[in-house]
């Protein structure tokens, strides 16, 4: 079956569950990252999270690792999820151009590397875990898996 025929079939029968799941996770990521960004600029004063012991969102969101090159990491996370939401919209999945899938792949690769860095910082430098950040990390890891598997199953359409 040719690529064109596959594309026609994909359009006719729908995208399947994976792209829709990617869109839903990206929107959830936008919501959580927006909250963290808001809290970053409010000095974490209303974070719904314990502030003593190992789980301590404020300690994480006000630490030196809450910024990268002066940019709040919460804002970088928000930009990531907004970008992923745009790239996960059904019309973008249906595009015949290879660029959306390449961008998705590049974004989740960068995202997952950044998540590993932030987990390292939480565990070994800040000595505290932020619940909301962990939600963001989990969403990014699942997005990474979904995008990679989709890319493997449909390398041309991604």
């Amino acid at each position: 079956m040719s690529g064109t025929a596959q594309r026609s079939e994909k359009t006719a029968t729908g995208l399947g569950w994976l792209p829709w799941t990617t869109l839903a996770l990206s929107i959830a990521g936008v919501a959580v990252a927006s909250y963290l960004t808001y809290e970053h600029f409010m000095a974490g004063s209303t974070l719904a999270c314990p502030d003593t012991g190992v789980v301590n969102c404020v300690k994480v969101t006000t630490s030196e690792y809450s910024r990268l090159f002066g940019i709040p990491v919460a804002l970088l996370g928000l930009a990531f999820f907004v970008g992923m939401t745009a790239l996960s919209l059904p019309p973008v999945w249906r595009m015949s151009s290879p660029w959306p899938s390449r961008l998705r792949l590049a974004a989740v690769l960068v995202g997952v590397v950044f998540v590993c860095y932030l987990i390292w910082a939480e565990l070994f430098r800040i000595d505290a875990i932020c619940l909301w950040c962990t939600v963001v990390h989990a969403l990014t890891l699942v997005l990474f898996a979904l995008v990679l598997i989709r890319q493997a199953l449909d390398p041309e359409g991604g």
Partner: protein, 300 residues
């Protein structure tokens, strides 16, 4: 003839089957690669958690505690006028406010009272400009170094400590009170300095609206009964991850974020102090930076 056609059809079918098998194998290979990559990430994250749980690789990022060394003291007391002028006051988010109250004095000289605690990150931020400003009017000895609590906002903010420090000046007196350490025992920070009854009364009276925005916050600074400040004048975030020596060193560069925050705040404190020393010494109080900073002082 028909046998030849049949052979060709069989060959086509064989090729088609081979192609389909190749495609399936390729698809399986790609899927394995993808699943492998996901597994690698899961193993990395799991490994980080396992190492941490096993107690390995932990590094404390707290700045050292002890006496402020000569390098820090020199950096704090040798900031040129040009740096104060270049920085100005743009970096401050708040400034001491003028109040109407009886003069706060000690030994016939105006008194600056600071009340804070070593665990408090906002106190950690504020000690830097208070020290820089006061050092233009006199000399500190036995200043300590410490950091804010690791379990509060802006954890481990590097700072100085007024506990045990003395300040000598011909223009004013200074009392620095650190009510607790940064160490917790049974959920409470260990007590350190106890304010005198007079200082406690000043705190209770003037660390309340309308003199300050919100009552009871620390750090509280009363400058001669003419100005009060409650809370930090800039964000402790600026100091995150630095040692005291790095903070002091950054004050040499007027373009550094630390200098922009600390020196701008020191300018408004200097202006307030000039307001209680009758603008003495003139070589400090008549500088452009200080006269411009005076305009930034608030009204309560």
């Amino acid at each position: 003839m028909s046998r030849r056609v049949e052979q060709k059809a069989q060959a086509r079918e064989r090729i088609a089957a081979q192609l389909a098998a190749q495609q399936r194998a390729e698809r399986r290979r790609r899927l394995l690669l993808a699943v492998g990559a996901v597994m690698v990430v899961v193993v990395i994250v799991g490994g980080l958690v396992a190492v941490r749980l096993a107690g390995g690789g932990k590094k404390t990022t707290t700045a050292p505690s002890g006496a402020a060394d000569a390098q820090i003291m020199t950096a704090l007391t040798s900031i040129p006028d040009s740096t104060f002028a270049t920085v100005g006051t743009d970096g401050v988010q708040a400034a001491p406010s003028a109040i109407t109250a009886p003069a706060l004095t000690a030994g016939g000289r105006p008194k600056v009272l600071y009340i804070g605690a070593e665990f408090c990150p906002y106190c950690a931020a504020e000690r830097w400009p208070v020290t820089v400003a006061l050092s233009r009017f006199g000399t500190f000895s036995n200043l300590g170094t410490t950091h804010s609590s690791g379990n509060d906002v802006f954890p481990n903010t590097p700072t100085l400590s007024f506990h045990g420090a003395t300040f000598t000046s011909q223009y004013l007196t200074f009392t620095g009170v650190e009510t607790t350490t940064n160490e917790q025992v049974n959920g409470q920070y260990k007590p350190l300095d106890t304010p005198s009854p007079e200082d406690q009364k000043t705190f209770d009276t003037y660390n309340q609206p309308p003199y300050v925005k919100s009552g009871g916050s620390i750090p509280f600074v009363d400058l001669g009964g003419k100005f009060v400040s409650s809370g930090a004048t800039y964000s402790p975030q600026v100091l995150a991850g630095k040692t005291q020596a790095q903070v002091a060193d950054a004050l040499k560069d007027p373009s550094s974020p630390i200098a922009k925050a600390v020196i701008a705040s020191a300018n408004v404190y200097t202006a307030a102090i000039c307001g209680i020393t009758n603008n003495q010494p003139a070589k400090v109080c008549s500088t452009d930076a200080v006269t411009r900073a005076a305009a930034k002082l608030g009204k309560s």
